[in-house]
Symmetry: C2
Subunit: 258 residues, 2 copies
């Protein structure tokens, strides 16, 4: 590694064998030295979970790509993978953490459930410029060409310009070929909700169990949201922070006279 | 239940058998009809994880408290428990979701890792006034008297005054007897970080594994933070939202000319 070469950590939540992470690695290779630490199994929907009451294993893994890549599997969550990479596996702090490319959207409310985005948020917590990438296609064999193209452009801009400490980017890319995408829009997170339906079944032993299913409802008519951009075939870029304080409600709360 | 009686959902992340949830139930009983849906095992550090690739079970459970309490265990995460309660187990939408009382702090950065707080955030996502309560004592047999006292006062205020839709409260209570606590302070989330240390061990089969340990570092010198309030023996109340957009960085991002 040359002194000016950038150090890039690649993580995801779909696991080390997912097509999306291979495409993200390929997109990052021209930008620097790539280290991969990814879950050894799918970890979608794990949010910001961490393994505090169990053990974590890490194993060296051959991506069968560029031999300069250092890759590891991690038995834990996406956030575990970032913590393990930064505290133990990487010889030096990376210049960039990229997560994904997720198979499926992480726009609007999905950001809080997403292992992909929680890994990026964890990078930001640690003070490292971080980006989560998601493609609006859940197919295991989805076409990641356009997503990888934009991942490279956006990662390069973050490496060049920097982003404010403890901030990361939530990037979602519409499904479709590169020439169908109209460009990039900086957005806010749309107000949306999942309406759950628990499908009740009975197991062979006669006991009930549930499958959680749900439908996504965009409650936001704004034209400055990620949902609006994606619906109009733009890549959405939402800057994300982890200070959850609802500042707008502090004054009123103070008036409650506890 | 009388028409004017409030409907209260009680959840937690330490599991149905934890001392903290029994204290929270006891504190809520004078305020309304209590339904409990809690994990069937400890789920600390689960963040906003949801079970999307596995099944969920729910079983009726006898708390051996007031017979008017409806209680269930849930095999999933704290957020699963809230979703299952709202979509399936409760006959009507609750007026209040309370989570905890957690065994241990959920102040500052802990809010993003906390199953307790993610359950409260999920209540807020669903548009229900929600509060997470945490006691700064990790002991399984901690003294919850002061925490339960403040939980009842704050829940009563939320039921009386309401809170803005999609907002919840993160309440942390110092350890110690009631007369040692000086009052309640409305605060912002302190900037803080966990510095992890991965302790490497070798299993009986000769394979390496890790335990994640860490130390908490408050990076924030502000006197308006939850950490400051707690350090000075005040109950901290932080209003919390789940719009993660870093609005302060949007203009600069727009100047990147994608």
């Amino acid at each position: 590694m040359t002194p000016e070469q950038k150090n890039i950590l690649v993580v995801n939540d779909d696991g080390i064998t997912a097509k999306g992470i291979r495409n993200l690695i390929q997109a990052m290779l021209p930008l620097g030295k790539v280290t991969v630490v990814a879950p050894d199994k799918p970890q979608s929907g794990m949010g910001h979970a961490v393994t505090i009451h169990g053990i974590i294993r890490a194993r060296a893994y051959d991506m069968h790509m560029d031999p300069a890549i250092d890759a590891w599997t991690c038995s834990g969550t996406p956030v575990d993978a970032v913590k393990l990479a930064l505290a133990h596996l990487m010889p030096q702090k990376p210049d960039l953490v990229v997560s994904g490319i997720n198979h499926g959207s992480n726009s609007s409310i999905n950001v809080i459930y997403s292992g992909t985005m929680s890994a990026a948020v964890e990078g930001a917590v640690e003070g490292i410029p971080s980006i989560g990438f998601s493609l609006l296609d859940w197919d295991a064999d989805a076409d990641f060409d356009a997503a990888a193209h934009y991942a490279q452009i956006i990662a390069q801009k973050v490496l060049s310009f920097g982003i404010p400490k403890h901030t990361c980017l939530n990037v979602n890319i519409p499904k479709g070929p590169l020439n169908s995408i109209k460009g990039v829009k900086v957005c806010r997170q749309a107000k949306a909700i999942w309406k759950e339906n628990f499908e009740k079944r009975t197991d062979p032993m006669g006991h009930d169990y549930f499958w959680m299913t749900g439908s996504f409802h965009n409650l936001d008519h704004g034209e400055d949201t990620d949902e609006f951009a994606l619906a109009h075939n733009y890549v959405s870029v939402v800057p994300v922070q982890h200070d959850l304080t609802a500042y707008h409600f502090m004054q009123e709360l103070n008036d409650w006279n506890f």
